[in-house]
Subunit: 460 residues, 4 copies
């Protein structure tokens, strides 16, 4: 099949197979982005006289057509095409002739790939922030509902001090809000337009990069054309690093939920329909989804590390190594999205067993409060500490509810500050939806209808 | 669809989708292994009276049938099956009734998965060692052909001392032989039979683990039943770590070949049919395959790291996290195999440009030889070194051929020791093929025909 | 030696040695931060009546004294102290008696360590942003000086299209500016006050967390007390991930400089006093500093990965595992700082050899420009591309200066946009210095003199 | 201070500081190895007439003297020396004059460093295998003592099937034995002599590499001189990968011990003198050593990853990047050694609480055994499984002792196979001590007394 670079010799079949890799499969994810970017590019080419108005319109129509075919699973990218960009150009040339041969003027696959990936990432990140906010919001609600439910607080996994289910859930909500700050930073870095950088060195045509960037809803042009290619993989790794922080937060939450749903604790219980069974042990109800979330934090870490390991020490300009950043990136995004969604589903259904939580309040848990009481009577802390430490057997059961109520300083069990988190969520949502609407308007303006630039992968 | 553990409630669909992940796709790789392992297990069950002879024979026939279906791409594993083990048991039960319901006696999916993966890995490792030996052998031939072709030796990427193409190629051959030693060690660790460990705690039946291990050609039973599950992911990471060493060797070789085929060097040139072109730059002939080999070293590293990160700190016994070790493992093996094959193809076709190599012999390259000459005249080395270093402009062109011929100590350019490498290759091959024949005989004995337990993935 | 938690038994010596690890050495870095944080804490304790005014003043004086001792290398932390926090409390108690025993009221080493590390990180990040901005600014100057110096542009390390030294340097400057955006995001996440979270569960005293946060110049209180401990290692990894991006940028720059200072290129040359020699080869001048920068990108990656691997999947609340995040964090920061400084030194001294750069302009480099010329005459791009590709031998030498001048679109060689980068640098600097002044004022207010909270490690 | 490569210019001080890094500190670890290797090299130089007998003897005496100084902490390596090799050569030249200037004949720091590191690693690996075998042996004893103590077996951290403390401990012992197989493989790869490869390209002198290799107790010469330098970092990473497997095994064991010493389980308890306390909570007894072992598995992983990331894709021949493999390697070895030693100490002192273990035997744990019982009565397994699964509330308490006794197949609770592990330990020990004696004899032969080539670092 004709490559974009086909001239008078053919590539060895084994090498072709190797270099194509799984791109022809992965690229289904970015067909829509590439078409939309093609429309913006063609519009600009028309404005500088490379394309006639008729050529531009026919290209636009056919690119819209490809999007529609792709949405119905009817646009084929074959291994022989190498990638979606070739499949699309070949399609345009076969349907439109000359106009198709002109579409590549002033661009290279290098900047084309980057543009398609950024549009994909941008759409992903908008949706990802939404699901993270939803989970955060549900965690805050969960914290609110359980703000007065005592929970044994632990350090070193040993019994430490009185805590509450509200404090536990609020901690994860605040963690996610900080993670979202990083996701938003990654969104901003991603939101710059690479088009016009071509193979890394620009082109000797008076192309209008700002016009294309604006049409695609990018916040700015990525200026230096060489830097565009130097940033391949870099932006991807920044995005994955932000997702990794979300995953680390989820992995910790999963570990807590798995641990505290063991029969010896039963602080939490998962409804049976969220648990899997065993092929040999009839009684088993396993928290498989939580275990997989815990494991998938390692996947996102590995994907990010893979990309960074690929780009580290590469000379400047495009290198084919970049191709191998695509699979870990796309997979990483999908893994992240799935895990947040599943955790959200779980947090909405998990049961809190107050009775079992109270059973964890052995007398030792009140040792520190007791020391503070002695401090209140004027004993220097270090003396109070030693006094309590040497007479642990005199500690008595106290009221767990009272113990968590009386810690009223900022962020303590008696003063969780949930409203402040609710406000952060609202502000975040408001900024996000404004941006989402702005971007959607631009893309819709280009294509004439709402184009889905991110669709979840079927199996990850 | 019925799960093996299905009782009187159903798994939430979203959670099911999440927990199945891509297992139903990945498991096509281990269907044959699972069937073969099922035959051996059934044979043992017959020997202890759990199955009648007729039941065993019918199970054996149907398992053989599944292998044949699978080889023709006609055995379906649907997302609803969770994995191949369920698909196979369901198939057996639907075709054979009672006998199908008995096949799982005395085993769990836990040990079943491990067995199927080890059979897959074993078959992979045999083939992988073959292709590595082929590449090594071709490198030695290449070294032999070019043993007298001078090449500027470098350190810090700067011109250092006279070297030869033979030394260069021989270095990689010896590196691969050491890598193969690690691959063989990983093979040995992998070659132990997990069956009978069940869910991690054995079963209260008088199963004969040695009989099953022998039938499947395993070198030994993996004794402690809990250790079997503790070693899930561990053996996989040991195998990938060995492959990673191969990949590091290849990445270095790729880097050298890319570097020295730049127009400023042209020591090596790749035939045009092994190079890809550019979509925008008409003149480009890019060493894409080599760049991808360089990049894919990072993939194998990341896969291994992912697995080790998953298993680190997990409590003993089976945890669902293990499921997520399957994808990186299978992908890692296929990436490794492809890269070795491609490098072999390249090394057989790369051209050596003696003229360009000679151009690299600037006078400075002889500085060390000159210092050694002074040493020969009785000047202490450190004085000779300073003397030469302070009069570099008096260095003259010398004969590169003579320079490499006269270094005759072990392993130097004039004494490459290629025969010794050839002997190591032969010994290795002989051991490998003996083992391969032994294993094949056992598997053929079980199934009645030669079963392919490893087939390369289509796209990796 | 007395531990803070010492009661009526002693820790096994071997275990003590193991658990202390290198903390007693590392903690020299955070003594000043811990003292400053102690002053703010004591001031607050006085305000709520736990300390008398006299006690507070004596504690403040003695903490200031410790800072001064530490700055002269005279404050000892011994292995038996476990860490600086114990050494400081023991010192206070031995000098001041009762007041010393009260300083720990309402805090735990857990929040104390986090506070000291955040003060250290904050001071580091201010200085780090300064040196990055300096390097960026020098790169822009370098780009300006060399904006008209042609350089062969490469993709796949092969000759691609005309480029310029200005484009090359500008690409790195813009990369660093994007990296700095991430560093600033990390700064913001770091700038929240953990004090008052105690062991993870707050305290039953009416402590004023906002007062302490304000005194220490933190931008806000980190609210949820459990989240404070959950974020140990997290913030550190976010900071290291930002540094890792800087390092990746530097590693690429180092690779280019090493490559293009090979004798076959000599585009760049390093002054001899920046190069190291060989123990055996008299002529060698090696770009060792650049090679080490390239290598140290791996160090920062590994440090970040180590921290993330430690915290992934840990249950909530403090776990001792956190202690092991300290060494990779502190080392990572110092490695990053050193590398930026060295690269800055190199970029100010590297020589550009215009003559050698021009030699790289072989006719093929103009192929794409030639195709664009045909496009200008109305030939569809894909036809122009094939036409040029099939007649490469007719390409002629063209004027490299003209070739880079005529690409005038945004970000191309004829339109580098350096002023825009200069403006970004200025804005960044202005924000940074405002913040730095704000923070310094607060800390000086507490201690009565300017306290250095970050000092570079001697050897990293 | 004079560098080995010093000629007529000086290195910039900032760059010198940067390139030396912490080598001058790390190199204390390899001074003895470098001296021993120097003696062997000098002996060879004498045999080929480069040194006189008198020169050789004086060099040998002075090198022995340096070892003795170093063992008393009296041999200084200053930052200005760059490394121990320079410090040693400078010392020899200053004491011996001409003979000192001749010692470097026919070698380079490149092969010298590798030799010193391999001698260090070899000594480390011998000692490391000893401590691992000791831990393994103690685990087997622990398993023997507790072979009849029931323990709830878990999968997914949920109650699964009856298990025993013996099975639990035996699983780790067998894991370590497999890990040791990898450590031994790494030992073999490490045991080849690099000397004579010089800077990567050999020397034009008739050096006798076999003679040097034999004198130093290496098993063979590493033949190809370029491969010697290509293998820098490679062998180190192979060793660390083997250690990483040990660490993963220990991290799992640590996780189990931490988990099952929580108050809700108390299966195990650590004596108080192995636990640390809290600065604020008087009652705390924390399993800090176990948590740090869990964390340090991440350190060893990161160190190995760092080295592999450094060497991946480096061009062949020496590159300065290799220097940065030294610190993670030396630290990794020491971390591994410490962790094994601490785990050994813990396993010898941990208490098993049979009463608490029995409390974990809730009726559900017997579900699978019950299903197998039904199988014994002729019910197909899958039917038995469903029958039990749908009537879990009819399950009754059974005798845990009987439940673990009756599983008698290979590797199950009633048939742990501890003697087989004991035999593997003995065989391993026997091979190890034979090799250790062989190596020690050679080194003692060279130096005239027993030289310690590995000494543990003070703080890691």
């Amino acid at each position: 099949m004709a490559k974009l670079w086909q001239k008078d010799y053919s590539l060895d079949q084994v090498v072709e197979h190797f270099t194509v890799g799984e791109d022809y499969l992965l690229d289904r994810n970015i067909v829509n982005g590439d078409c939309v970017s093609g429309i913006a590019h063609a519009e600009m080419l028309e404005s500088i006289g490379i394309l006639t108005e008729i050529e531009f319109k026919s290209l636009r129509n056919e690119l819209v057509n490809i999007i529609k075919l792709n949405d119905r699973g009817k646009f084929s990218i074959l291994p022989g095409h190498e990638d979606c960009h070739t499949a699309i150009e070949n399609h345009l040339t076969s349907v439109l002739g000359e106009a198709g041969k002109k579409i590549h003027t002033g661009r290279s696959r290098n900047d084309q790939v980057i543009a398609a990936i950024r549009l994909y990432s941008r759409a992903f990140l908008i949706e990802f922030q939404r699901v993270c906010l939803k989970l955060t919001s549900n965690l805050i609600d969960f914290a609110g509902t359980n703000s007065n439910v005592p929970m044994p607080g632990r350090t070193h996994m040993q019994i430490a001090m009185p805590s509450s289910v509200g404090l536990w859930a609020g901690a994860y909500a605040e963690g996610l809000l900080d993670d979202l700050y990083l996701v938003a930073a990654a969104y901003n870095l991603n939101n710059m337009c690479p088009l016009g950088s071509a193979a890394s060195y620009g082109v000797s045509l008076p192309i209008k990069r700002e016009m294309v960037a604006h049409a695609l809803g990018f916040e700015r042009v990525q200026n230096n054309v060489l830097y565009v290619n130097n940033s391949r993989g870099k932006i991807e790794s920044v995005i994955l690093d932000a997702l990794e922080q979300v995953m680390i937060t989820l992995s910790k939450m999963a570990q807590d939920l798995i641990l505290f749903s063991m029969p010896e604790f039963k602080y939490f219980s998962l409804p049976v329909e969220l648990c899997t069974g065993s092929s040999i042990m009839p009684q088993k109800r396993n928290p498989a989804a939580l275990e997989l979330i815990r494991a998938k934090a390692s996947a996102v870490s590995a994907f990010s590390m893979q990309i960074k390991s690929i780009i580290k020490g590469l000379p400047s300009g495009y290198n084919r190594d970049f191709q191998d950043t695509k699979a870990p990136f796309i997979k990483g995004l999908n893994v992240g999205m799935n895990c947040v969604r599943i955790m959200d589903l779980i947090i909405r259904r998990v049961k809190v067993n107050e009775k079992k939580l109270l059973e964890g309040f052995i007398p030792e848990i009140f040792a520190t409060d007791r020391a503070m009481e002695l401090v209140g009577r004027g004993i220097p802390f270090r003396d109070a500490y030693r006094q309590v430490g040497c007479s642990l057997d005199t500690l008595k059961d106290e009221d767990p509810y009272e113990a968590i109520r009386k810690k009223t300083h900022t962020g303590a069990t008696g003063n969780l500050g949930l409203d402040s988190s609710r406000n952060r969520i609202k502000e975040f949502e408001s900024l996000l939806e404004t941006e989402a609407a702005r971007v959607e308007k631009r893309i819709t303006g280009l294509a004439g209808f709402k184009v889905l630039l991110f669709k979840p992968e079927q199996s990850v």
